[in-house]
């Protein structure tokens, strides 16, 4: 199990858990970032920039702190 930051660009995985508070989990959930969902990393910036992922055909951009809390299984 690795977090979204460690996932490589163009690699897909399944979200296993979200290591965040209730507020964050709820916000993620509303956007479709939830346990069990298939996620593909579109691109992640080396150094500081946000990570772009694809879930259910939607592209989302999220900060690195947030991305580090999303645990995935390849």
């Amino acid at each position: 199990m690795i977090n979204l930051l460690q996932l490589k660009s163009n690699q897909s995985g399944k979200i296993i858990s979200i290591a965040g508070g209730r507020g964050l989990v709820a916000r993620f959930n509303n956007l479709g970032i939830r346990e069990g969902a298939q996620v593909k990393k579109v691109t992640g910036y080396f150094r500081g920039g946000p990570v772009v992922i694809k879930i259910d055909g939607t592209q989302l951009a999220l900060g690195r702190g947030m991305a580090s809390k999303i645990m995935v299984e390849i």
Binding site: N29, Y45, G57, T58, Q59
Partner: protein
Amino acid sequence: MKVVLTGNPNVGKSVVFNRLTGAKVIASNYPGTTVSVAKGKMHFFNIKAEVIDTPGSYSLEPSTKAEEVAVDLVDDADLIIDVLDATNLERNLYLTLELIRKKDKPLIVVLNMWDETKHKGVDIDIKKLEEFLGVPVIATCALSGEGIKDLVFAINKAKKSHLKDLKEPLWIEIGKIVEKVQKLTHRHHSFLDILEEISIRPPFSFFIAAAIIFLSFSVVRFVGEGLINYLLEPLFNNFYTPLMMKLSSMFGPGSFLHSLFIGDLIEGSIDYGVSFGILTTGIYVPIAMVMPYIFSFYLILGFLEDWGYLPRLAILGDRLFHKLGLHGYAIVPMILGLGCNVPGALATRLFEERREKFIAATLLAVAVPCMAQTAMIINLLGRFGGQYIFIVFLTLFLVWFSLGKLMNIFTKGESPEILIEVPPYRMPHFGSALKKLWLRVNSFFKEAIPLVLLGVLLVNLLNVLGVINFLAKIFSPVITKIWQLPQEAIGALVVGFLRKDVAVGMLRPLGLTLRQLIVGATILGIYFPCMATFIVLVKEVGIKDMLKSILIMLSTAMIVGGLLNYILKLVGI
């Protein structure tokens, strides 16, 4: 009957709204275009209703102020039209099922952007979805108007869904529905997909961004200047000036009416930049100097918005904005602010935290010049050379950056992270883009021109009543010592509360040196926002934060004005 439009951000609610009501609200291809509520009347055949457009929301648990507004409105609805992005059924159904579960109101589901489903390989069985949800499901392409008639006729058939007592977690229920009604077929990457990829993948993305920004500014200037030089100036010179000259000899130079309406004659003729009569400068400034740039700016902005580039720019700029205590999406209020600070100020509603709003609002008010002001600065300094215009904007950018950095350090709290949906690139729809452009230029005419006229009137009144002389004496230490401007420049600062374009224009008749013009134009940008922006900002951030913000503005103007003057002197300007 009250009909409320709901749906995720960027599904096209505002376009549906415009179609239903004939009203006109701004619609674009980025989440968060609509930050306030719009109401309109709908009347088709025997169906009459009040229709309400709301900011998009992903769920009934709002996380921003804009979303909160939307959720509150749902409770008053007699009927909910839930607009979905058909290419994104799964994610969009979340709000739909929440509405069904928690609100229990008559509902119509609209699958908008239906035209896009085909080339995206999405196949949705509408009849089956209708059966599942127990409410009418209508496919539309609101941009072209397809399906809107069906939507209108469905209003009488709207009903409450039978799904109220769903047992399982929503995503599980959604999974079950989607599995039955939607088929995805694989398709090859299209040209737009590839473009999407490279515009967020470094390092190309940064070259592309630089090229797009450079190109945008060039086109704005080219179109703006072209309109002025080849259309408006000739029009004024050939048709309007003779008329005004006739009026001038009718009033007789020196009379009260003459100085009010025509202003001063320069060597026997009207100089629109200097005369300052209501019918001369008051008409010329908004129509022949500012409007061309408003037009060209919104032409380009509209294209970038509809194309879907702004969210990508937000991703690329995220790191920069983090240094200022904001996240990348703060690019939206800043870019809108370059057109007019008022919509920029309203767009601060997209932020969750008070700290973020405060920093963004202050930066916007201090260092983001609106297009009206920019046009006047170009006019004022352009005759000396483009590099002087550049100095003003470079100064403003440095102020923007350093002030943001300072506020990030000294304001308690942390910068939140970006979390946005990145819409696909879409070919701008010509008709809608034109309508949006017209809407914006028109609102400039309706809202700005009366204020410009009032501003010019104010200039004359202040002069006649001796108020300018009085204020000039009081503020003379700051103006003459720190900024090294003549004390009459106070007039521009006073009028700047009302309109920045008129204020910048007022610098010209003062006979300033080039250095004084640069310093004056920069200070006018920094010291205070115009009245309209100020009122919106007070509403958005609250009076307490606004007072803090004003303190920052005034001291920044003082320091930067003095420093700029000093540096320019050093380099010999």
